[in-house]
């Protein structure tokens, strides 16, 4: 369910203003990020979790379709190749975000070629909300041509794609936004100081079309607040291409 509590509307139109073009911040919706890549280690769940959070953020920030009389109940796709599945595990329904649990279609592909085929078919499907791919390493099949095909399909049919690259080199790709993500220590939870808190990810945007690179610490928004807009302005900090300022930001989770 995507509640929109307040609406300083962040629309593709407002993105064009130079102040916002300065830096990326959660909640920005633009056609540019239809294809994102997240580099992460297979030893942690950061890549998939951040892909999910970005997807949810995009769905929530895009707002409700004024013509729709029902909440968004489209299925979403999660494709893993065999190596990614073996090394980083299989999606676990009780641990998925509540609004996405019952809508998952999971594809366990045996090779990277099959995974890319499934992703491309998924991007062509008008009934999917978004797609997440997890591919381990730098397989030959995932060449620049293959990533270009994915970008074109994602842009043409409007199905966003986040490709999680587990333990991969930063190779040539046509992804619109490329992140390097790793886990960051979590904030203290309210009741048990010794327990792990809400997740935090250290995310470095090292290549993006339309945004300067930067580094953030991201995390899901508060569950009670269910906010769809960033609580802190991120663009206040200096975001020069050279200075990688660390920014504490909060990403919205629906």
């Amino acid at each position: 369910m995507f509640h929109r509590i307040d609406s300083p509307a962040v629309s593709p139109g407002s993105f064009a203003s130079p102040a916002q073009a300065q830096g990326w911040r959660p909640g920005i919706v633009s056609d540019e990020v239809a294809h994102g890549e997240i580099f992460a280690s297979a030893r942690e769940g950061t890549g998939a979790a951040m892909a999910l959070a970005l997807a949810q953020d995009r769905l929530a920030s895009a707002g409700l379709d004024p013509l729709a009389d029902m909440p968004d109940q489209r299925m979403w796709l999660w494709v893993q190749d065999r190596d990614a599945l073996r090394r980083s595990g299989r999606p676990y329904r009780p641990g998925l975000p509540r609004s996405l649990r019952h809508r998952l279609i999971h594809v366990a592909a045996s090779t990277a070629e099959d995974a890319l085929f499934a992703l491309e078919e998924g991007l062509r499907c008008r009934d999917l909300a978004f797609a997440i791919g997890e591919i381990s390493g730098n397989p030959k099949a995932l060449s620049f041509t293959a990533s270009r095909r994915l970008s074109l399909a994602a842009e043409r049919h409007g199905v966003p794609l986040w490709l999680v690259r587990l333990d991969a080199r930063r190779d040539l790709s046509s992804a619109r936004m490329r992140w390097q993500a790793s886990a960051a220590p979590s904030p203290q939870p309210r009741w048990n100081a010794a327990a792990p808190g809400a997740p935090r990810w250290r995310a470095e945007l090292f290549r993006a079309r339309g945004h300067p690179p930067g580094e953030w610490v991201l995390g899901p928004g508060n569950r009670e607040k269910l906010t769809a807009r960033p609580e802190e302005r991120l663009s206040e900090a200096p975001t020069g291409a050279q200075s990688k300022a660390r920014l504490e930001g909060r990403m919205a989770l629906a």
Binding site: Y92, R93, P196
Partner: protein, 543 residues
């Protein structure tokens, strides 16, 4: 009344507003009392008592307790070869006993065809496996000149097919069945007759009860239907109070016999599978020609399906080769479809590895399973290209290339063991209703297929872990929460399975894992019996 009656299924007809205005139900029961032997004689083209049928012969089948006789001809029965006896026992009585294999599947198929054929006497018919038919002849007897004449017509028609039969007509299926099996042949029970009185002399076996129930009734001294009505009904109801199945409860069967309780039956309805085929002037040996033929067939099939308002769910493509071989490729669709392009595209992947040999001379496409699809307007805009594919078409394409096991979705299952909580079903199958996981349980985003063993350093054996090594790297535990104790499912697993203590762990870099200790020191299971400390495993990863 014996409690709530477990009647499931649909009733043969909707409840009429005024039952008195409708003609009373008339049911014809046909018992083919020697179906297996009749079929054997038909296959051997023998008359009754001719040729091989004149000497003792039995049909036999393998069973768990050796070869058993399932049916025997008249000479065989006279020689002591009763159905159910072991062949070896019968051979000691009659060394000359000849045998032939029985064919229960063939008998059933024959009976199905016969059920359709029997619709010449009534609008619907049902199977009464293994050797009977039920035909609804309500209001049709006058077409044959009365019910006696109808029975004579049935008898003549069956005699022409060399089938021995016993017949009866009664107001209910139960009564007709009882009379056909145990009453005088050709009985007609009229609606105004006193059914209780007419049926009182039949044995209790006429109630179609299970063998153990018949044994109970025999031990109680109840041999005839009249005996049952002599006993106080509440005494019988108490005796059979927890028997819900009609075949296990004589009272339900008795009520069905007398028409006080409806008895749903499943009618036989003929369906023609849509079928299209192309005979080829010249055998084809090349793939592109075959693709062309398959595309043509898919278009033919789409037209046939559209005419009937159907969509195909399962398709079978048969290719007849010149050298006498038949290649068959099957396809299942996630949702009914009659999109010829989609169908031929899906078959395209299945044709990659076929060996045409000397050529394919005939290709046939059959829709073995069709579902209703309403007619809808096609895409008339040029912009339809940008719309993309539908979910069902997308699933079909994935399944055609990756296999059905690769494309699935998780559903919850009634279990509390973490790896057993979720089951995987087909991508478009609906969610079963189930209890969601508890909100206060923290569960990881991903679960490893097999929990991986880790080496853990801890302060005390049942305390929090301090440090662990997983896949060759050491993780310092910065924060931990636990244990959450999860016991094994004793009703499902062996007694040696140990309980698990789960901990949520965050290491110094913020990576979060779900680890557990398998058992506790001193539980006497697994390695504890030889004094080893419990093992630790890493099972899940949080984002």
């Amino acid at each position: 009344m014996p409690g709530p009656l477990p009647l499931t299924g649909t009733y043969p007809a909707a409840a009429p507003p005024d039952p008195a205005s409708l003609p009373p139900r008339r049911i014809l029961a046909i018992w083919l009392r020697d179906l297996a032997m009749d079929r054997w004689r038909l296959s051997q083209e023998l008359g009754l008592g001719e040729g091989a049928d004149a000497s003792p012969l039995a049909l036999v089948a393998e069973s768990a307790r050796g070869v058993r006789i399932t049916a025997a001809n008249a000479a065989g029965l006279a020689a002591g070869a009763n159905p159910g006896t072991a062949l070896a026992d019968a051979r000691t009585l009659c060394p000359a006993l000849a045998t032939a294999p029985s064919d229960p599947a063939g008998d059933l198929a024959f009976l199905e065809k016969l059920a359709l054929w029997a619709q010449r006497w009534g609008p619907w018919s049902a199977l009464d496996a293994p050797d009977g038919l039920i035909v609804d002849v309500t209001g049709v007897a006058h077409l044959f000149g009365g019910e006696e004449a109808l029975l004579a017509d049935v008898r003549a028609a069956l005699a022409r097919r060399h089938l021995a039969a016993r017949l009866a007509i009664a107001p209910t299926a139960g009564a007709a069945w009882a009379l056909a099996h145990y009453g005088p042949d050709g009985t007609v029970l009229l609606p105004q007759d006193n059914a209780v009185q007419r049926l009182a002399q039949l044995p209790v076996a006429a109630l179609r009860l299970d063998d153990d129930v018949l044994l109970v009734l025999r031990r109680l001294g109840l041999k005839r239907l009249g005996d049952l009505s002599g006993v106080a009904r509440d005494a019988l109801a108490r005796r059979f109070r927890n028997r819900r199945a009609p075949a296990a409860n004589p009272l339900i069967r008795m009520d069905q016999l007398l028409g006080m309780v409806p008895e749903p039956t499943l009618p036989v309805i003929e369906q023609h599978a849509p079928l299209v085929q192309r005979r080829l002037l010249e055998p084809i040996r090349h793939r592109d020609l075959l693709d062309r033929v398959v595309a043509d067939l898919a278009e033919d099939m789409a037209r046939v399906l559209e005419g009937r308002g159907l969509g195909a769910r399962r398709l079978e493509l048969g290719m007849w080769k010149v050298d006498g071989e038949v290649l068959v490729r099957r396809l299942e669709l996630a949702a009914p479809s009659r999109d010829s392009g989609h169908i031929s595209g899906l078959f395209g992947r299945h044709l990659d590895h076929i060996d045409a040999g000397f050529g394919i001379e005939m290709v046939r496409l059959r829709s073995m399973w069709s579902e209703n699809v309403a007619l809808s307007q096609g895409d008339i805009e040029a912009a339809a290209e940008g719309h993309g594919t539908s979910l069902a078409a997308f699933i079909d394409r994935l399944v055609a290339r990756l296999g059905a096991r690769a494309v699935r979705r998780p559903v919850l299952r009634a279990s509390h063991v973490p790896e057993r909580v979720q089951a995987w079903v087909g991508a478009l199958e609906p969610d079963k209703s189930s209890q969601e996981a508890f909100e206060f349980h923290h569960r990881p985003l991903k679960l490893l297929d097999n929990a991986e063993r880790i080496a853990v350093l801890y302060a005390s054996p049942d305390g929090l872990p301090r440090r662990f090594r997983w896949r060759g790297e050491v993780h310092e535990v910065a924060r931990a929460e636990g244990p959450e104790r999860i016991s094994p499912e004793w009703w499902r697993e062996r007694g040696s399975v140990r309980l698990r203590d789960y901990y949520r762990i965050e290491d110094g870099q913020g990576r979060r894992y779900w680890i557990y200790r398998d058992g506790i020191a001193g539980d006497g299971r697994g390695g504890d019996a030889v004094g080893r400390p419990p093992d630790w495993f890493l099972q899940g990863l949080w984002g």
